[in-house]
Symmetry: C2
Subunit: 249 residues, 2 copies
């Protein structure tokens, strides 16, 4: 299948990309900067999500995967559509209009954007910067940033959906390496919810889940007692699905 690469001008996809550095939950943002050519003054300096228009003969989901692949080089990334943003004025504030004019898209037609969030194991990814300035920001700091368009709103909705989803589905593992320690998993949940969790109770609950499988391997080269490594088995999870009412945590 070939792709026409002719874009649909009034529909785009924006991805809220979450990563975990074993300490904090982060979101990946792209710096947007516009400098006045004559004066050298900075007209715009803020942050956007990564997004792009969809192509005419491209499924919506495919467009989101394409955007992620362009950025990270990976294909099998957890991705989920969460909301469409369709207010007529979502891009009409002054700063954004200046930007769109600069891109020769100013005051063009209204654009509707579909929000996706994705979870990636940030230990694996080296970002392909290709001339863009991209950075990870802890989600706590993200609230105070200067955002482009309605991207702050999109981000906040993504975070809300993520928090809800993590309560009932085993998706947190997407943010960790394939083999992880229980402490890493615990820190991840703490980072997502922003609240401490009791270590012993956490371990009891996790270990009894049949789809969390203990490996025989342990950590190596750490300056303390090496931790046991675990694996999330989606296969076992799917098999035991009916018996459970939910992935209640």
């Amino acid at each position: 299948m070939t792709i026409s690469h002719k874009i649909i001008s009034n529909i785009s996809v924006d991805c809220v990309i979450f990563g975990f550095d074993f300490e904090k939950l982060n979101v990946l943002l792209v710096e947007r900067e516009l400098v006045d050519e004559k004066s050298g003054r900075i007209l715009i300096k803020d942050f956007t999500l990564t997004g792009y228009h969809i192509f005419e003969d491209e499924d919506l989901d495919k467009a989101a995967y394409r955007i992620l692949k362009d950025l990270t080089g990976f294909e099998n990334i957890y991705l989920e559509q969460f909301t469409v943003f369709g207010k007529t004025d979502r891009v009409s504030n002054e700063k954004d209009q200046i930007w769109l004019t600069y891109l020769n898209q100013g005051f063009s037609e209204r654009i509707l954007t579909v929000g996706y969030f994705s979870l990636i194991d940030s230990t694996k990814v080296t970002l392909s910067h290709n001339e863009r300035k991209i950075h990870w920001f802890p989600i706590d700091e993200a609230h105070n940033l200067e955002w482009a368009f309605d991207h702050k709103q999109i981000f906040m909705k993504a975070l809300e959906v993520l928090r809800n989803k993590v309560r009932t589905e085993p998706i947190a593992f997407e943010l960790l390496p394939e083999r992880f320690t229980l402490t890493q998993l615990q820190k991840l949940y703490e980072a997502i919810y922003g609240t401490p969790i009791d270590k012993r109770n956490f371990r009891k609950k996790i270990v009894q889940m049949p789809f969390i499988v203990a490996l025989k391997v342990k950590q190596k080269g750490v300056p303390h007692k090496p931790a046991q490594l675990f694996l999330f088995s989606r296969e076992v999870f799917e098999k035991t699905k009916k018996e459970r009412l939910g992935f209640l945590f």
Copy 2:
């Protein structure tokens, strides 16, 4: 604010409308029928959700409210966007192409549709049929119907989202009259999940919720012991929100 009424041709909204008749959970569908003018043979006979394109200067949510108002006459209906359907082939099967050709839209550009679900108190609504054949169908039967476009898929996703949402948010009340009995509420939950619930345990749990307020009024004219009427107070719900972790049922 005036509305241009110029439609955006590649974006539409489809509403999955749920209602409750005190026995079953139903979905509202519109019959689609195409008869060959010469032979009189029925070419197409199936069911669609209610939907329409959005207008150029109309917020997405507004478009969904407009569609519902046209159908029911009411403005304050519970409505929630749940998913966008954006596969390139979502309307390309033969039957649908015949239909679109008939409407002079055949083989036109790809249409992306935004799914909304809405919950209405069906005791209040008299449907404004304006020449369309519309009917309530129990959700169990809906699976066996002949559906138009990808509307079966949209319906099933809506049902899934509804079931999840009802577990954590107090939205079931939208399907009942303002004053309701506990038995009605219980039947509603049973209808949504398709499973029986223990009466005494159900009542204990419900009555202790501060936002379920008992009225002094009782049913009248029923041929059995009249039931007490209750009310869901959104005000109390919002006030006590922080104290709760969720509307866990």
